[in-house]
């Protein structure tokens, strides 16, 4: 029993790490530009599929390195051509626009790589269990947790130490002032969008190795990411991280006791958080309205 619970908690932690990685990207874009990026799941799927296409040429490690950057590059193009046009307009329009993009992305991945899930190869030595008692503790899973940890640490380093990150955080608080101080806000928003999409691409490559790769992988991960943001608190990146891990572990534990409620539990959690603390666990006061 202990083993079963541990297995599911660990599983939940990994899934939570995906949610968090994806939700952090969503949060970055939402905080600075006020755009809910529905197409985030589509970008995630494209990240996974690009890696799948690259593996025969550059191997797993090369794909892990290159695919997220290619995804981010696609994100930059999409931002410049389309997303930019809805900045400052009613959030309705950005929602509809990214919603349409999500459809297009899902359909294109299906068109190019087929509707069936494709095998995604991870180096054999990573797939070995590390211990016979805890069979679920494969190297790949441990590696994934470490990599997500590193990515999150990297993101927070960028946000607190680099000039770009400091500008992004300042812009989140007051974009107009940042603009008046001579920062090119258009470029700032584009780069910020790219950064968010990079995280989605990275999550895509990792998720492909863990969950398998099919065109609907993005849509199945995007809703929990929304929940992660709401639970953690709008406007707070540490909150988003916490929210992602929390709902991941919660659904992991629920799998043990009530498998059919695995998906529903995170929405129950969201309801409870909204009831007790409408701004989310770490959300700032006044951001709700």
């Amino acid at each position: 029993m202990t083993q079963l619970i541990l297995f599911n908690v660990f599983n939940g932690l990994i899934v939570g790490a995906f949610y968090a990685l994806m939700a952090l990207g969503l949060s970055l874009i939402l905080n600075l530009s006020g755009v809910i990026n529905f197409a985030h799941g589509g970008f995630l799927a494209i990240g996974g599929y690009l890696a799948y296409a690259l593996i025969p040429f550059v191997g797993f490690w090369g794909a892990l390195l290159i695919a997220p950057f290619l995804t981010a590059f696609l994100g930059l193009i999409v931002e410049r051509l389309l997303i930019r046009r809805v900045y400052g307009r009613d959030p309705l329009y950005s929602l509809l626009l990214t919603f349409g993009l999500a459809y297009i992305f899902e359909d294109s991945t299906r068109f190019i790589w087929g509707a069936q899930s494709v095998p995604f190869q991870v180096p054999d030595w990573l797939m070995q269990p590390l211990s016979s008692d805890y069979f679920f503790l494969t190297g790949y899973r441990l590696f994934m947790v470490l990599l997500v940890g590193a990515a999150v640490a990297g993101l927070f380093l960028i946000l607190t130490r680099s000039r770009l990150g400091i500008r992004i955080r300042a812009g989140t608080l007051d974009l107009e002032t940042v603009s008046v101080l001579g920062v090119n806000v258009r470029i700032l928003r584009t780069l910020n969008f790219g950064l968010g999409i990079y995280l989605a691409g990275l999550a895509g490559v990792l998720a492909a190795g863990m969950l398998g790769l099919s065109p609907t992988i993005g849509t199945s991960l995007i809703m929990p990411s929304f929940v992660a943001i709401i639970v953690g608190g709008l406007g707070s990146l540490p909150g988003t991280l916490l929210g992602g891990l929390l709902i991941g572990v919660a659904s992991g534990i629920t799998t043990v006791f009530a498998p059919s409620a695995t998906e529903a539990i995170i929405y129950v959690m969201m309801g409870l958080v909204l009831l007790i603390r409408p701004r989310g666990l770490l959300g700032e006061e006044g951001r709700v309205q």
Partner: protein, 321 residues
């Protein structure tokens, strides 16, 4: 001030034209190479889009999760006929109650939220019901949907109307439900309550200073909007004699929003026009290509970029000049 009577006149003529078209629809639908069921579908989805627009266009609050209440209406109606009583009107009432009660609970949780946050929470909550219907196989049929039932002919005591087999009779039954729902919504919008909703849309802070209980009115508006969405859902299930979890999926919510925007969300009849365009286009595209998702997606993008005011918004702008 002079413009007011003219506007009222033009809105009256446009209402008259719309009703004439809707009433005569089954007579010419075949002649233009289409079929009555498509017309019924337009009316049903138009009701859903107009219900959404009660909240979106006239209260200024975006819900991106109306498919949940639409779907609850559908399942409420389907399960009533399959498990409880073989009665079409009762099925609609149960479906309506299911959607409305859910909206009352969820509405209470979210009325304090605004803007993007409100939209996001409605999307996320919409998924709960999707997963419930998806997972609760024994009752809801899971992914396969709920089939093995059909709509029941209306028994009026002195006569029976066969809406089960007669597509035209069912169309007029749906149109009657549509007329009742739309009439109630129009009445509410003209009432003092409806005016306070417009006040909230235009300037929430000012409305609050005037003593309007914003949260309670928002909650009411949300519940009314979801009530009619669930009526539409019940009719949709009856139309297909079938329902499945896709009726509750967030893609459906997006469809309602695009219908409202495409038609013109600041006008009462806008969503009807939007629904008509959307349904006919989807019917055409999905019968010609497997990649209809890309087309629908592209359609969303194009509407946002080029028709953000919607069809009626553009027409009104032209005539105002």
């Amino acid at each position: 001030m002079k413009r007011l009577p003219v506007n009222r006149l033009s809105s009256r003529t446009s209402s008259a034209i719309i009703w004439i078209v809707l009433l005569t629809l089954p007579l010419w639908m075949r002649a233009v190479g289409s079929y009555t069921e498509l017309g019924t579908q337009v009316v049903v989805l138009a009701l859903a889009a107009m219900a959404l627009n009660f909240l979106l266009g006239f209260t200024g609050t975006l819900s991106f999760g109306h498919a949940a209440y639409f779907g609850l209406g559908a399942y409420g109606a389907a399960m009533t006929i399959k498990y409880l009583v073989p009665s079409t009107p009762l099925a609609i009432l149960v479906g309506m109650a299911a959607g409305t009660i859910a909206a009352m609970i969820i509405g209470a949780l979210i009325v304090k939220l605004r803007g993007v946050y409100f939209a996001m929470v409605t999307i996320a909550f919409g998924q709960v019901f999707y997963f419930i219907t998806f997972r609760w196989n024994t009752v809801t049929g899971g992914d396969d949907g709920l089939s093995g039932w059909h709509r029941i002919p209306l028994n009026l005591g002195f006569t029976t109307i066969d809406i089960e087999h007669d597509g035209k009779a069912f169309y007029y039954f749906v149109l009657l439900c549509f007329a009742l729902s739309v009439g109630v919504m129009a009445f509410l919008l003209r009432s003092p309550f409806g005016r306070t909703l417009l006040a909230i849309r235009e300037n929430e802070r000012r409305a609050r200073f005037l003593g309007i209980p914003i949260e309670r009115h928002l909650w009411l508006s949300f519940v009314i909007s979801c009530l009619f969405a669930s009526v539409a859902g019940a009719l949709y299930a009856l139309l297909n004699n079938f329902t499945d979890p896709r009726a509750l999926y967030w893609g459906q919510s997006g469809n309602f929003v695009i219908m409202a925007v495409l038609g013109g969300m600041r006008s009462f009849w806008g969503p009807l026009i939007g629904a008509a365009i959307f349904v006919v286009l989807q019917d055409y595209v999905s019968s010609h290509t497997e990649n209809w998702m890309s087309f629908v997606g592209l359609f969303f993008v194009l509407v946002v970029l080029f028709f953000p005011r919607g069809v009626l918004g553009i027409i009104r702008r032209r005539t105002m000049r």
